[in-house]
Amino acid sequence: MLENHVSDKKSLFPTGAHTELREQKSRSRRVSLVQGNLTGNERSESLGISARVYQNGVYGFSSMAECSGSAAEKVLRAAVANALFMDRHVGRGKGPLPVIPCSDVPAGRAIQDTDQKQYIEFAKALDAYIAGKYKNLSSRSVIVSEDSMEKIVCTSDGCDGHICAPRSHVYIVLGAESTSGSPLELFHPVGGSGIFSENFTDPALLYPQIDALYEKLMHKREGVHAQAGYKTVVLGGFLSGMLAHEAVGHTVEADLVLGGSVAGPALHKRVASDLVTLVDFAHTAFGAPTPLPVYLDDEGTPAEDAVLIQNGILQGYMHSRESAQHFGMKPQGNARAWSFSDEPLIRMRNTAVLPGKDKLEDIIASVEDGYYLLDTTNGQADTTGEFMFGVSMGYEIKKGKLGRALLDTTISGVAFDMLKTVDMVSDTMEWASSGFCGKKQPMPVGMGGPALRCKVMIGGR
């Protein structure tokens, strides 16, 4: 466990200013096997202390790559000086932040280290299975990754806590040639919150997922280009999760609302069909832990769920303490920092569209001419709500039946227009947690959703 060098420094906090002192250790482990070649075999550790001070509407921040009492005192002095500098030159003249009732959030779990050999042997076992069983692949990669953050958060006027957030994943990438001779790839992540030995006990447990990925790749070998245009589609759970995060989530982060996002004038207005409810879950959803639970943020705010859209009406934003004060709303624990040297930013946690009442097979059967889109490679969105997702796997739907597989394509739309076209929502959902959200700093996030029938623009030939 991280030794605490910050909690006894509260007496040094400046009076009349909101102050955060954070000690943090981040670790990452990664093993990459490409065609059986060990191309990556890395371990990294990063730790240090940072301080942030809020004075009359501006922040001063400083950090050092050292964990000690003297480092804590030095970053605190520098952060105070930086805040005073900004106040003197910029002078926004805002008052103090509202106080949050103090409590102490204990460490939920300890992060145990894993020997590098275990990652390598696990990756080699998966690679041997793929190489032995599937001779017609043109390429294969197995990546084992574990990252973790351990933080001690100490605040002047909020909760304190010692929090640990490990996650571990295995990524499988399979490649083959299409029937026309072009190279194709498909990718599948497995894993989530927790250390490697909790999530991965036996490589054989992943074999069925590799087999399923291979089967999809074989369908894709025979794939066709989507017809470009405005189409009726069924978005699978991974795509509706991406939609929740990229296309809606970012526009309702309060800092982006202040930066002019489309959600500013849309508050309390209809932005989706009444079948759509969208929540940024903190640590528990549907009676189970979320993919990446968050209990306390880095401003000392206890994490609770943020309801963003309820039955199609935009209900609120995600906040830091400062933005919550600006909008007269309640902070719900969204201010998070990636590294010890990063300041907290408004970030999503586990953002999801809630399931509905339709059966997936009924949704597919209802589409006369469209597409069923399953997997995504990446997504981007704009503050206007215009989004783009790469689609790596999908199928045609003709007269209610699944048809040929699709080659890689892209879908796009404007979130608050597209969500109004949602007219069927499946009763099951899928979660994903293997990626990073990028917004000045990277951040692990969860996202999820049910299958949605809706209309989007699809790229193609």
């Binding site: 990294s44 001063g60 030095k74 000086a81």
Partner: protein
């Protein structure tokens, strides 16, 4: 400037001493070969959010990264702690990882080379003048581009002192410092709002207003001009004119899909057998030039420990090199790349930008591309953001919800023209480039 913000650096060790200790520990631990880099950094950064100053931060960092080889097995470890036990742990972790690894004859380090010390840019910041230039930029934008709302502006001075050593006796040392200005903005008027746009500058001089650097002034004006949009009717094949802002995405995908480590190692690159052959229009020369005088604080030595050299990836349309690390070079039999940077340089052509626009029968000026990861074979599709419709040589207006799709390899052979003008933003030197044969589709094409 108040001196109190300059935190004392008593904790910062002499990184030469850290390098020495690391070498000693590696020798004691029995590494056959090794390379290691010790870095110390200092950052002074101002943030603007929603158009107002929000944060001033000063960061003091350091790091040690070690790669060691034992019995032709390789392991890597990094730490940001410099005490003796942390150095020892990093070396131990590194060797232990190597011993757990897979032996491969292709693992190697750079040979002995003449050592070098490099000093680039503005190593010591002038924080007072930097802050004044930043305030001046905010004022210039307010006065000259009143419809612009600054979502976020991050300006920083980044100082890096780095030492690289390997067990073949090579040592490089670099002292670099530069000012970075990164803007994210959109335009607003009444209920109308544009997509956000990002513009970046890297400079080592503070003698000119920031708004005059790179393409910042044009980017702001173009974004304001995107407030009113015109519909794109139907689906058609047309010309895309890529700006110096959108070009790096396309060139980066071309390098990633056809010329980089991953696609050469797994042999999925469609250029695998094209070295020395034509892969592009003969007017295209694409180079990676960290040593170019227009690149600020470019890379001086590679991640593998070679002294960086500028090189042509494509010269007069012919593929001259791949962008390979030493490992993949050894594995594939191709030569390692001259550098490991992304300092793109494409020199200007012979067509004025205005004439390029006039020559377009139907197409788009693409300011930003928001696309899915291209297929391994180079097929791409995505949204043309911050883009303008051109018909019969005239800019008709900005577009929304318009997609483009094509193939990256075919694009290089469908060049229409390269602009005479180039944009130098400190990180790259790029012109405007127009390509034909791209599928452009508007929402109206299949609206139901």
């Amino acid at each position: 400037m108040d001196n109190s913000i300059h935190m004392e650096k008593s904790i910062q060790e002499d990184i030469r001493e850290i390098a020495h200790k690391t070498g000693e520990r590696l020798r004691e631990a029995g590494a056959d070969k090794a390379q290691y880099t010790v870095t110390e950094t200092q950052t002074h950064e101002f943030n603007v959010d929603g158009g107002e100053f929000s944060l001033f931060r000063t960061l003091f960092g350091h790091s040690l990264s070690v790669t060691a080889y034992k019995d032709q097995k390789k392991g890597s470890a990094s730490t940001n702690q410099f005490d003796d036990s942390a150095i020892e742990a990093a070396v131990r972790d590194c060797l232990k990882s190597a011993q757990s690894g897979v032996a491969d004859e292709a693992y190697d380090i750079a040979p002995a080379q003449e050592s070098g010390t490099f000093r680039d840019g503005a190593y010591e910041p002038d924080i007072d003048l930097f802050f004044q230039r930043t305030r001046e930029l905010m004022r210039d934008i307010r006065e000259r581009h009143p419809k612009i709302l600054m979502e976020q502006m991050i300006v920083s001075h980044d100082q890096t002192h780095k030492i690289y050593r390997n067990t073949n006796g090579t040592e490089f040392e670099a002292f670099q410092g530069a000012y970075a200005v990164s803007l994210m903005f959109s335009a607003h008027e009444g209920d109308a709002a544009t997509s956000f746009f990002g513009s970046d500058i890297c400079t080592d001089r503070l003698d000119r207003p920031f708004i005059e650097l790179g393409s910042l002034e044009k980017d702001l004006a173009d974004t304001e001009a995107q407030l009113s949009t015109v519909p794109v009717e139907g689906k058609f094949q047309g010309v895309i004119l890529l700006t110096p802002g959108s070009l790096p995405d396309f060139l980066g995908n071309i390098i990633g899909n056809f010329a980089s480590d991953g696609c050469i190692l797994d042999r999925t690159s469609i250029w695998l057998d094209k070295l020395g052959q034509s892969v592009a229009d003969s007017r295209i020369t694409l180079s990676l030039c960290p040593g170019d005088r227009r690149i600020v604080c470019g890379e001086r030595f590679t991640r593998d420990g070679f002294r960086s050299k500028d090189y042509d990836l494509i010269k007069d349309g012919v593929l001259k090199s791949f962008c390979l690390s030493l490992y993949v070079a050894n594995k594939s039999g191709f030569a390692p790349a001259g550098n490991s940077s992304f300092a793109l340089v494409v020199e200007g052509g012979d067509t004025p930008y205005a004439d390029m626009v006039k020559s377009i029968k139907r197409g788009l000026i693409v300011g930003r591309f928001s696309g899915g990861n291209p297929s391994v074979n180079g097929d791409f599709s995505g949204v043309a953001k911050n883009s303008f419709l051109v018909e019969d040589g005239e800019i008709k207006g900005a577009v929304s919800e318009t997609m483009i799709s094509g193939n990256l390899a075919q694009l290089l052979n469908s060049l229409v023209a390269i602009s005479r003008e180039t944009v130098e933003n400190g990180s790259s030197v790029l012109p405007y480039m127009a390509f034909d044969g791209v599928v452009i589709s508007g929402k109206e094409s299949g609206a139901q």
